[in-house]
């Protein structure tokens, strides 16, 4: 049952912190996509927020369930880079 504290801290940080930013990035991407497809902004944000909590939940469960952290780290990082990099390429609406 004993695991090093470092490993556990790493999992928690991966799930809670990276998971949060990855979900946040997912939400940003989804909103930009939906709005560009013509959905009114208020609707896309509202829909996105509802979905994001479920995404975050799945990411947390995955981060703890995965045998090794490799895949979660890669996927989370990709999402974060994509989501937070996007604003540099897409112009804001008013």
């Amino acid at each position: 049952m004993r695991r090093s504290g470092l490993k556990i801290t790493g999992r928690v940080m991966l799930a809670v912190v990276m998971g949060y930013f990855a979900s946040s990035a997912f939400l940003a991407l989804l909103n930009v996509l939906l709005v560009s497809m013509g959905m009114p902004r208020a609707e896309s944000v509202t829909l996105g927020i509802m979905l994001t909590f479920i995404v975050y939940l799945c990411l947390i469960v995955w981060a703890f369930a995965a045998r090794t952290v490799g895949w979660p780290v890669v996927v989370f990082s990709l999402l974060i880079v994509a989501g937070y990099g996007l604003p540099f390429f897409v112009r804001h609406g008013g």
Binding site: N31, V35, E43, V45, L47, I49, T52, Y56, V61
Partner: protein
């Protein structure tokens, strides 16, 4: 992490529960009480125990208050009209950073004296989602983290149960205490599962824009724009101007709003930028008839009375979100459902508490001397019986403090809150110093406090349970007294059982061998 999916979920369930259980208990406890926040207000503010007023209050009666707000250069002024749960009318305006708020007897139009308490709506309800920590919105974020943990706990809890349907009907009160705890935890968890999931999820969604601002900023230039857009409040976004103009007749505008709603009444009347040419006069429709919070708003120009906007029909996505928030905030009018919420909420509290206790009981033998165990043991009683006791102390102090109590620069309302925190802190110290007897002592204290709260209400206001039960308008007070009495009874029962067990305890050592989870 652990070998196998179920084992890793078991690990997650145990530790998410142990680490965030205290916060979760506080949130669910305060949330359950908030189901009856207006009723708690009636109990804590005796001056507002009023018989329902006849309909048709003229809004112009409150013109002096509006003029006062204009003179104070208020940013807004509003009236919240009385309803079935709220017999008083509320007047409020904001100047600078301070809110000026009055409660008015709708029958006479007189302003009621300051009640000197925050009550259910201003202490217990905000505590539910902010923990009353305002520093950098830290409280909201902690509650959000705990709510996500609750969802994780629900998912992992379902996964680790092999026999979820058998657990449905399994409760073995004659078995060993550790088994009883687990059964109780499972029964409350499984029966209330839809409630736990929906209430936690909808609570997160209500504060969603706070927790995930990135979604808003991806397509809006600022969060305010989204808020106005999603709530049809864009009429508020006007350029400030200095030219003065009086506000048109409130009653006349209200009549026009009623006509647009097919006769429905307004719940809230809002004047934004009162006294300016750009002022807005808005009416929010009552929302008692359905779960969905439609927040239908009709807005007029405050200076000319011209119609500015009316909320368009809601789109399906917004409707879904408003249904979730309506489900959580229970602004609809249905007493039976309100009690169901209360009972299910109490069930959640039992589930969290028994989860904690099961963790301890299954480790007491093997890890009883470890620091981590002592830490959790010390925290548990404070987080469970402690917050109950602190809430009761809050109620008792409300009945004991004199009307214009003032001490160390704190007003009466603040003193009540200090009593709450002092008692809460004391229960933690108590649990830390005497971990063996803390449950017994705090259960007994709960029984004493709850019983005395009822007595004090009788002595200080004359509203004893027989009187409150016989007048419909006093039922909120009667309900609160009944719940307090039932709570006192249950606490007494628990005390007696614990005392009996403590008496004949050492002869029957409990079997404690490594738990099934963790």
């Amino acid at each position: 992490m652990e070998q196998g999916f179920r084992r890793s979920m078991g690990w997650l369930h145990t530790w998410a529960g142990v680490v965030l259980g205290s916060v979760l208990f506080a949130v669910f406890w305060m949330g359950t009480l908030s189901v009856f926040d207006n009723e708690i207000d009636r109990w804590m503010k005796p001056a507002t125990r009023l018989a329902p007023a006849p309909h048709g209050i003229s809004l112009e009666t409150f013109r002096p208050s509006l003029d006062e707000a204009i003179a104070a250069k208020a940013a807004f002024w509003n009236i919240i009209l009385p309803n079935d749960r709220q017999p008083v009318l509320q007047l409020r305006y904001k100047t600078g950073k301070t809110f000026v708020s009055h409660e008015v007897d709708p029958a006479s139009g007189h302003i009621l004296p300051d009640s000197g308490t925050l009550g259910g709506t201003e202490f217990i309800f905000p505590f539910h989602y902010t923990l009353q920590i305002e520093l950098m919105d830290l409280g909201e974020w902690v509650v959000g983290l705990a709510a996500m943990a609750m969802l994780v706990l629900c998912v992992s809890g379902v996964i680790i149960h092999r026999k979820i349907f058998a657990e449905f009907f399994t409760f073995r009160p004659y078995k060993k205490s550790r088994r009883i705890l687990l059964d109780l935890h499972n029964v409350c968890g499984v029966l209330g599962l839809p409630f736990h999931i929906f209430l936690t999820f909808s609570g997160l969604v209500i504060l969603g824009a706070t927790y995930f601002p990135a979604g808003v900023t991806a397509v809006y230039s600022n969060p305010r724009a989204y808020f106005f857009d999603a709530n049809n409040l864009s009429f508020l976004a006007v350029k400030p101007d200095r030219s003065a103009a009086p506000v048109v007749s409130l009653d006349e505008a209200a009549t026009r709003a009623r006509a647009m709603w097919g006769g429905d009444e307004p719940q809230t009347v809002l004047v934004a930028n009162p006294g300016k040419a750009s002022s807005r006069l808005a009416f929010f429709r009552v929302n008692e008839g359905h779960v969905l919070m439609d927040r239908d708003v009709v807005a007029f120009s405050g200076a000319t009375g011209a119609l500015i906007s009316r909320s368009p029909p809601l789109s399906p996505v917004i409707k879904a979100q408003r249904f979730l928030s309506g489900l959580h905030l229970i602004q609809f009018h249905h007493w039976v459902l309100r009690w169901v919420y209360f009972v299910l909420g109490m069930g959640s509290c039992v589930m969290i508490a028994t989860g904690f206790l099961f963790w301890q009981e299954s480790r007491r033998k093997t890890q009883g001397n470890m620091f981590g165990f002592r830490l959790v043991e010390g925290l548990t009683s404070g987080s469970v019986t402690g917050i109950i006791l602190a809430t009761l102390a809050f109620f008792v102090s409300n009945r004991l403090l004199p009307a214009n109590a003032h001490w160390l620069g704190q007003g009466r309302a603040a003193l009540e809150v200090w009593v709450f925190y002092t008692v809460w802190f004391a229960t933690f110290v108590h649990g830390w110093v005497w971990p063996r007897t803390v449950w017994l002592a705090q259960s007994a204290a709960i029984a004493v406090f709850a019983g005395n709260a009822v007595l004090l209400n009788w002595v200080t206001t004359g509203d004893h349970p027989l009187r409150t039960l016989s007048h419909r308008y006093l039922w909120p007070v009667a309900g609160m007294d009944m719940v307090l009495l039932v709570g006192a009874g249950l606490a007494l029962l628990a005390t007696m059982r614990l005392a009996r067990r403590a008496g004949g305890h050492s002869s029957a050592p409990r079997q404690a061998k490594g738990g099934s989870v963790g």
